[in-house]
């Protein structure tokens, strides 16, 4: 049984900071495709279109019939652990800090042998197990075998936690915590066992229904944070930046306008100021300290979440300037992801459809409840995925975008 994760002690400032290292991240193009699926929460292996052969490791052609028509297909991961070892020695710095560690060969029910990390609760070979794929600290997919059925505290497993960003015992900053989604995020993080939640608010004088109750949660602290103001962001970073384990950028400025229906650029500028430049300011002020603490103790800094919009992928013309600002934020987040990856910090992008709030009053359902968004964000952190598309509309548009982005552009014209 996995030992329950204990609330970490206060860090002894005299001890040297453990510097972040990464597991080997080089992959072939085929293997990167597997990582891409895992980043979106899917465990897929290559299947031959012509003969149906399933295979791993990823190849450029079918190992049975040499067909080059390979498709990525979801797999269940059930199999038998046929041999296991406890590794005490590694030549890689990352693993030298983490041995001993268990590895095993698993024969999947599809008759493929895979090498996988072993969750601590897996019995010794031979035994039934479930293989899952996760992104490791380098951002690439690796396999881990879990026991056949869930065990107590299994999320607290040492190796599994290297691949996830569970909020449990972590200190989290939520921007624009007064908004409906901000409040829902604070509540969900509190429920998930976050150690501290800093609720960033821009306009302290403004009374927002429900926020009082959030501030009364035992682990919530209200802090001033105005994303349009460099000084405000820097001041907060100077105060708490060295403690933030997870940053959730939930702030957004949202108006319903295209190009022709509103003269001038003021609205577009305001959207860019928060949605794009706000992210930039946060990243410049909070990013470096988070990167530095990415291997510090049992709950190191671990993740950065951006609440984007499904319209970042394909513009909704009736909210065109908003979509453009989210597209800009998406592009910037990819740079942020590449930079944070150097320390093993995961950047999670959330692409919701319309959220049920004051700015989507005239949008027909289904709309995403703030609590559902918050739940999806916490789950993404716990599961260690990189991109999520919560809600029916987001799922629908994401699928269409994957199938044919150009066709989706046309479908959006009259929405």
């Amino acid at each position: 049984m996995t030992d329950t994760l204990k609330r970490p002690q206060k860090r002894n400032p005299v001890l040297p900071l453990r510097l972040p290292t990464l597991p080997p991240g080089a992959r072939s193009r085929a293997a990167i495709q597997m990582s891409a699926a895992v980043a979106e929460g899917r465990f897929e292996l290559q299947k031959c279109h012509d003969c149906g052969q399933l295979q791993y490791p990823p190849r450029d052609a079918c190992t049975t019939c040499l067909s080059i028509k390979l498709e990525w297909t979801p797999v269940d991961g059930r199999g038998e652990l046929i041999s296991d070892t406890l590794l005490h020695h590694s030549n890689e710095l990352y693993y030298r800090q983490r041995v001993p560690l268990r590895l095993g060969l698993v024969r999947l029910q599809e008759n493929i042998t895979v090498l996988a990390h072993l969750h601590g609760d897996c019995p010794q070979a031979t035994a039934p197990v479930r293989v899952r794929a996760h992104l490791d600290k380098s951002g690439q997919a690796v396999l881990i075998a879990l026991p056949a059925t869930d065990t107590p505290n299994m999320a607290d497993d040492r190796i599994l936690r290297e691949m996830t960003s569970d909020p449990k015992f972590r200190k989290v900053l939520v921007t624009d915590a007064k908004s409906a989604t901000g409040q829902a995020l604070c509540k969900a993080l509190s429920d998930a066992g976050a150690d501290m939640i800093w609720a960033g608010i821009a306009e302290p004088w403004k009374q927002t229904p429900g926020f009082d109750a959030i501030t009364k949660l035992p682990n919530v602290t209200v802090v001033p944070l105005e994303l349009t103001d460099n000084r405000s962001v820097q001041d907060l970073a100077a105060s708490i930046g060295a403690k933030v384990d997870i940053l959730i950028n939930n702030a957004e400025f949202h108006r319903n306008t295209g190009i022709a229906d509103r003269p001038g650029t003021e609205t577009a500028r305001a959207e860019m100021e928060i949605n794009y430049l706000g992210l930039m300011r946060l990243a410049q002020s909070f990013g470096p300290a988070m990167r530095a603490r990415a291997a510090d103790g049992s709950v190191p800094s671990t993740a950065w979440v951006n609440i984007l919009s499904i319209y970042a992928l394909s513009s909704l013309p009736s909210q065109g300037t908003f979509a453009a600002s989210k597209a800009a934020a998406l592009s910037l987040s990819q740079t942020l992801r590449a930079e944070m990856r150097q320390a093993g910090i995961r950047v999670v992008n959330v692409f919701p459809g319309p959220i049920d709030d004051e700015w989507t009053q005239l949008v027909p359902p289904p709309k995403l409840a703030p609590a559902a968004l918050a739940k999806a964000v916490v789950k993404a952190l716990q599961d260690g995925v990189e991109d999520i598309y919560p809600g029916d509309i987001a799922q629908d548009l994401f699928n269409k975008w994957r199938q044919n982005a150009k066709a989706l552009e046309r479908e959006m014209w009259d929405q």
Binding site: A26, S28, P57, S90, E92, L103, T113, L115, D136
Partner: protein, 389 residues
Amino acid sequence: MSRSRTRYDGVVIAAPVTVPYVRYSEKDAHWFLARALGALLKTSGLKKEQIDGLGVSSFTLFPDTAVGLTQHLGFSPRWLDHLPFGGASGVIALRRAARAVQNGDADVVACVAGDTNHVDSFRQNLANFSRFARDAVYPLGSGGPNASFALLTAHYMQRFGAKAEDFGKLCVAQRDNALRNPLALFKKPLTLDEYLNAREISDPLKLFDCVMPCAGADGFLVLPEDHARQLDLPYARILGTIERHNAFPDDPIQDRGGWMLDRDDLYAQAALGPKDMDFFEAYDDYPVINALQMEGLDLCGYGEAPDFIRSNTFTIDGTLPFNTSGGQLSVGQAGAAGGFLGLVQALRQVTKQAGKTQIPDVKHGLVSGFGMINYDRGLCTGAAILGRA
């Protein structure tokens, strides 16, 4: 049904050379291979121009291959072979060179294998060993073959009842043999207790189960028998050879190797049987592979190596002398030269040049190779039988 193999009549192997192994070297692989080729010239009395065939095996020659080496060292061969087979490269170099000489594609082929070992080169080699290793093994922390062989060893022990003492017996016997070999890097005796109580590497493997990477090179010549006689070189006959790659791909985990598919051909080609072998030089990066080779080459049945180990001594003066140089486990693993070590030692035995490791009255010796853990198992297997001239 494959056609049966023809013999290597009229072609022989001669001039075993070793560039002494060292734990680390600041030199490059080219330096070691140059010294091996130089030693072959010196031993044979041949001029450089008379070597018109080259077979080269090396992991650390990158970015060069055998091609770059020809210009680097000033050879103009009319036959050239690059052998990326790791532990099977010796046997494969021999069998290819033998056919080239037999058919007139080359007059004299120099086969060399060697690698350097810089302080960080082992780690870098592992990281880029193969595409599957880079995609699906190395990222999990199993820096190199230790974990791969640990998994094969654990499975073998569980399935066939081998004990740590069985593998220990082989390691201890090999160390005993190594103490007679001045070229071995390990100079101290090893007891079974020391073996069993050594530092854990990757359960069930402990320190003395794992080869020590080092730098060095080995080489030999393949040439017509009458040419060898003219040069007054002691030589051995090539009585049979086999190679196989990626055998038994459907086995869930490797507990047998390609030798099983080809051994009947090997013994038929030599018109000999396993009982005729006076000694056995196996590829021993980890002792479990010794067991697979004993079974694969029919010295005992599938899964019966534990009993076979218990009923032999494997020392030079005992029953079935085994890895008489000390093997890689006691000499060191100089990269690809590890694939030549057994063959070069077998050549020394059969030509009575084995010094203090010499077995009396040698007629036939068995050499085996195993190489390239591409993903979860070793892909290359090979074997050869050498006979006294």
